[in-house]
């Protein structure tokens, strides 16, 4: 299927010539997202600013059976917004207004192109808090966060994007507009369709408005950095903290390779001579923050921490969290291609999973940097490789296959927060099982009978 000339013409009538891109130089920059080693040229790109334009674009696509790949800032890590051959890329980055902040109901209504950072800032300016904080939050869009059901550093205590979505406006493939959810804390009228669209990876509809829940800003927080001589000591510290019934806001882990790369970039004074680092943050009432921080300090020390250091102020705490968020990209300092995964296991299985990842890396002679949300059991083993070395890329594939299989065996999942997209498509049937796959396929067919939305993704 090659994109017929009629389609850009039709899109031009909808969005204007300046907002429809067809030249090679304009399209190449849309031929990838944040995922390594995946590249595919789209047929054209259309940039829209209104729901009506979204509906009109989908109608054209539906009638002509042209694939549509919805895109925000293109920072996804599973190839979810990677174009399919000759598709229309529907870019919502300019549809980025924050429409309402309702202080009485503690909600925020935004368009999908608003960045996560803009939403966090708007909430903060009102003395409120939007907790989900994916690594790319400075530029990732809220629409993308909802479509991928993104997590972040604070998932442990505050949950993920799903826990903050109260309502959605969705344009269906035939152009019909659907609202699901509202400002009510309780609402059990009918199926919770909004939950169907959250994490649907652009396969069921195009989200054009998002109603978010905000919560009061915690009045205090304390951030600490603990270093360990062995990874397993860090893992044990995390297990002990959870077992002590402490749910900190953040329990982030970095291994030696990642620490060096992050420090090389961010220069926040991370200790370099250790095999594992835990970034621990507790927030809430000042008294409970002090108590939890003290307990976490003791647990870390009991597990042989080399050093536990507290951030001296809020600015340093933010610098540390920002540095951690740069981990994935910073690993690219030591290898041209960095392929990360987000296999997740129940927290009780974490230590075993970490050992397994190390063994696999050794077995396949691969360099690896591991970091991630240790408190969630959500790790990001990242293979440091070169996409031009095909033989090594095969070993990377084989290694990931083993890691996914082990994660499933341990009762975990193939993706904790990045989504299935293209990268994990092959592993979904085994993970989900026949019955789930059948129901998902049928649901998709009902909502998108022509199969125009992000075809070939997820399954």
């Amino acid at each position: 299927m090659s994109l017929a000339a009629a389609i850009p013409a039709a899109l031009t009538r909808i969005a204007g010539a300046a907002n429809v891109l067809t030249k090679q130089e304009d399209l190449i920059p849309y031929s990838f997202d944040g995922t390594a080693a995946l590249r595919q040229m789209p047929g054209c790109v259309v940039l829209v600013t209104m729901r009506e334009e979204v509906a009109a674009v989908l109608k054209v696509a539906n009638e002509t059976k042209t694939a549509v790949v919805t895109r925000g800032s293109g920072t996804g890590l599973s190839g979810g917004s990677l174009p399919t051959p000759d598709c229309i890329v529907l870019c919502l980055a300019r549809m980025n207004r924050i429409l309402e902040l309702d202080r009485a109901n503690l909600t925020l209504l935004a368009e999908p192109g608003a960045t996560t950072q803009a939403i966090a800032d708007a909430a903060s300016a009102a003395g409120l808090f939007y907790p989900p904080d994916p690594g790319s939050m400075k530029i990732s869009t809220i629409g993308g966060n909802v479509a991928e059901n993104s997590g972040g550093l604070r998932g442990l205590k505050y949950g993920i994007t799903r826990n903050y979505v109260m309502g959605l406006e969705v344009v269906l493939p035939d152009g019909e507009v659907l609202w699901t959810g509202n400002k009510c804390v309780k609402d059990v009228a009918g199926y919770s369709l909004k939950d169907l669209f959250i994490g649907s990876e652009g396969t069921l509809g195009v989200i054009t408005k998002i109603l978010l829940k905000l919560i009061p800003k915690p009045s205090a927080r304390k951030t600490m950095v603990a270093t360990f001589g062995q990874i397993v000591q860090a893992a044990q510290t995390v297990s002990d903290i959870i077992a002590a019934q402490i749910i900190p806001c953040t329990l982030e882990f970095l291994d030696r390779t990642t620490i060096r790369c992050v420090e090389d970039y961010a220069k926040v004074g991370l200790p370099l001579d250790c095999d594992a680092l835990l970034l621990m943050e507790t927030d809430g009432h000042p008294a409970s923050v002090a108590e939890e921080a003290d307990k976490m300090l003791q647990i870390a020390q009991k597990n042989g921490a080399l050093e536990v250091r507290a951030a001296k102020d809020d600015a340093e705490a933010t610098r540390l969290a920002t540095a951690r968020r740069s981990a994935f990209s910073a690993l690219a300092r030591v290898a041209p291609t960095t392929i990360l995964e987000d296999a997740t296991v129940p927290r009780s299985e974490l230590a075993g999973m970490i050992r397994f990842v190390e063994e696999v890396a050794q077995k396949y002679r691969l360099r690896i940097g591991t970091f991630g949300h240790m408190g969630d059991g959500n790790l990001h083993p990242t293979f440091l490789t070169d996409e031009r070395n095909q033989e090594e890329m095969h070993r990377v594939e084989a290694a990931f296959k083993e890691i996914f299989e082990e994660a499933i065996r341990l009762g975990g999942t193939i993706t904790g927060e990045h989504g299935v997209g293209l990268a994990k498509k092959g592993f979904l049937p085994k993970f989900a099982g026949d019955a789930q796959m059948r129901v998902m396929r049928e649901l998709r067919r009902v909502l998108d009978p022509s199969g125009i939305l992000n075809p070939g993704k997820m399954f």
Partner: protein
């Protein structure tokens, strides 16, 4: 096409970008258009396509490379450590070599400026003298008053309004070839007086010499200086940039000085990379490496050697940091009162190539804070380009003006009456912008403020 700069580049430089998107929110052009092509990772994708032989250096490619400000904010944001500066210079060289931008008018301008005027500063000075004569004889005022400019095309009228005031004396008229250190001599340094800076901001050069001398530096200021070549490197004339670098190394042997001082952020950023420029030149390679080590921005150098404390201005008595040590409550009270009344509020705009190119952010602020009766207020988005960007404001007026507006709005929001910045391009841009808006704003180099403060206090 004669030569492909991008294909010739070490592929690891091209491959370093892992397109995570963390550069997007810091890129002024992407921020304005939300088009991937106008973003750092989008531009790198185009460069890589050329290196891979999948794209030719087309007109659209060349236009894009000239739409980039070259502000290097993306380099500060990039955790992966992509050397965008090198990519950018090679991409512009690629665009020039391809010839796609050639036109009689453009060729004439480039031949006259890059290839003639800026290759020998005697020519530039002669042009400056003619312009000064035109301004001094009142011809400029007359032409403006008679409305003769209306005969010019609109763009030329706008450019005419941007013509800088040529100072009555150039650096060589103001500064002796050798300025002894005040008091004990600890260092021997050489000052680079710049090209345009020499004509329109020669007073800043004089101030720099004064400040250096006051801080125990013997200052050599050669009368016959060269353009550093940054203008050439940034505009695709790689060979001319190399030629100028060689001449510079011949004229100013780096081994003879403790430091080679530049007070222009844009020049400094280029001057620090002579070794990259001449890395394949067996004759100049080593000297270039020494040069790179010795080149210091004035703020950086003063930060390294530490500055002599400045006594408070005459009318207010001695209430600076030094006298703070004197425990005198009465004095403190008077001091607070005086401070409220006379403090000049200054804000600091960061030159892109000082902050992103050279990572010098703390030192200029430290200098401003060390000046008594001066209150430094942080500028929102201080590290966001003002639109000057070398000659960007001449070739891309629309984008440049948007950025200027944004910058001036932020400056106004601080309530500062003075804005300090360490680069002639920024100074000129802000002076013109403030004048056009009728703003009562003093635009100065931080070193000028320091020199003024020294002059007010006894040596």
């Amino acid at each position: 096409m004669s030569q492909s700069f991008l294909k010739g580049l070490d592929y690891s430089v091209v491959q370093q970008c892992m397109h995570c998107g963390l550069c997007l929110p810091t890129c002024p052009t992407y921020d304005a258009t939300k088009l991937e092509r106008n973003s750092p990772r989008g531009r790198i994708a185009l460069m890589r396509s050329i290196a891979d032989g999948q794209l030719d250096a087309t007109r659209a490619f060349a236009d894009e490379m000239y739409f980039c400000l070259g502000c290097l904010a993306c380099m500060t944001a990039c955790p992966a450590g992509v050397n965008y500066a090198e990519l950018f210079e090679n991409a512009r060289a690629e665009a020039e070599a391809s010839g796609v931008l050639r036109s009689p008018k453009r060729n004439l301008i480039r031949n006259l400026t890059l290839k003639w005027l800026f290759m020998d500063l005697n020519r530039l000075q002669l042009a400056g003298r003619l312009l000064r004569l035109y301004q001094q004889l009142g011809l400029e005022a007359l032409v403006r008053r008679l409305g003769l400019l209306r005969l010019l095309p609109k763009r030329l009228q706008e450019l005419e309004a941007m013509t800088p005031r040529i100072l009555p004396e150039f650096s060589a008229d103001l500064i002796a070839p050798l300025t002894p250190a005040v008091g004990h001599k600890r260092y021997r340094v050489v000052l680079l007086t710049g090209c345009v800076q020499d004509l329109i901001f020669s007073d800043i050069n004089r101030d720099t010499v004064e400040v250096l001398s006051r801080n125990h530096c013997e200052v050599v200021t050669p009368q016959d200086q060269l353009c550093c070549g940054s203008l050439h490197a940034h505009n695709g004339e790689y060979e001319l940039a190399r030629q100028l670098a060689r001449q510079q190394l011949d004229r100013i042997p780096p081994g003879q000085f403790d430091a080679i001082i530049t007070n222009a952020g844009g020049c400094g950023s280029h001057l620090k990379h002579y070794h990259t420029l001449l890395g394949d030149d067996p004759i100049y390679r080593e000297r270039a490496a020494i040069w790179d080590r010795k080149i210091k921005d004035i703020h950086e150098w003063l930060g390294e050697i530490g500055i002599e404390p400045v006594q408070s201005g005459s009318q207010n008595g001695q209430f600076d940091k030094v006298s703070d040590k004197v425990e005198d409550k009465v004095k403190d009270k008077v001091k607070d009162k005086v401070k409220e009344e006379v403090d000049e509020v200054v804000t600091y705009h960061e030159s892109c190539h000082l902050t992103h190119g050279q990572k010098i952010t703390r030192q200029p602020r430290d200098i401003l804070r060390a000046i008594p009766n001066l209150k430094l207020v942080e500028l929102p988005e201080s590290a966001w380009c003002c639109g000057s960007a070398g000659i960007y404001n001449i070739v891309q007026p629309e984008m440049a003006n948007q950025l200027l507006e944004r910058k001036l709005k932020h400056i106004q929001s601080t309530g500062a009456t003075t804005v300090a910045t360490g680069n002639p391009g920024c100074l000129l841009q802000l002076i013109n912008g403030a004048a056009a808006k009728g703003m009562n704003l003093k635009v100065v180099h931080p070193i000028t403020l320091l020199a003024e403060a020294y002059r007010c206090s006894a040596p």
